[in-house]
Amino acid sequence: SQQGEEDPQALSIQEGENATMNCSYKTSINNLQWYRQNSGRGLVHLILIRSNEREKHSGRLRVTLDTSKKSSSLLITASRAADTASYFCATDAEAETSGSRLTFGEGTQLTVNP
């Protein structure tokens, strides 16, 4: 079952513009992570934000987390054609069986047009 819902499902922008993707989730989390997946490839970890953090930066990426609203956003600034990919949020939360489990959203398909 998917814990996260991502919005929008698809986003098309021009090179140089900023892209914002949102993620909402349902349960308490340890941390929230964002991954990128190029077509036909595996997922690549982008950034992790812990539940006690509100904002984090990594290069052109900015992630915010609002635990009161159970939501996160990923901002990619000055987008490039190479940023074209699917972006997934994943929440790390306690599993009923053992330890914690990473649960992925359905993803946002980002297309950056040259």
Partner: protein, 113 residues
């Protein structure tokens, strides 16, 4: 450093046939994961291993799916018999420990006819 290796990359079988996927994690990674990814969806965890022990297999359909990681290194995921609905990408990931970043392999795309 080599990443997570999976084989085969693509597999086409007829329904009711068995199929197996193989994964070799990054060297030194104790935790290994198998995920199922349907088209247009995010990955869903099937099973997590800590060394050779399956510590989270609650989402593995055990009537037809099985997995093993006998020596705590590489792992095999098997489906027997395969059904049409099993068509998906099967992803393997590994991490140093369960608390560390997961690194994903390229996946095996399974098509069941």
């Amino acid at each position: 450093e080599a990443g997570v290796v999976q084989s085969p990359r693509y597999k086409i079988i007829e329904k009711k046939q068995p199929v197996a996927f193989w994964c070799n994690p990054i060297s030194g990674h104790n935790t290994l994961y198998w995920y199922l990814q349907n088209l247009g969806q995010g990955p869903e965890l099937l099973i997590r291993y800590e060394n050779e022990e399956a510590v989270d297999d609650s989402q593995l359909p055990k009537d037809r799916f099985s997995a093993e990681r006998l020596k705590g290194v590489d792992s095999t995921l098997k489906i027997q018999p395969a059904e049409l609905g099993d068509s998906a990408v099967y992803l393997c990931a590994s991490s140093q420990t369960w608390a560390d970043t997961q690194y994903f392999g390229p996946g095996t795309r399974l098509t069941v006819l």
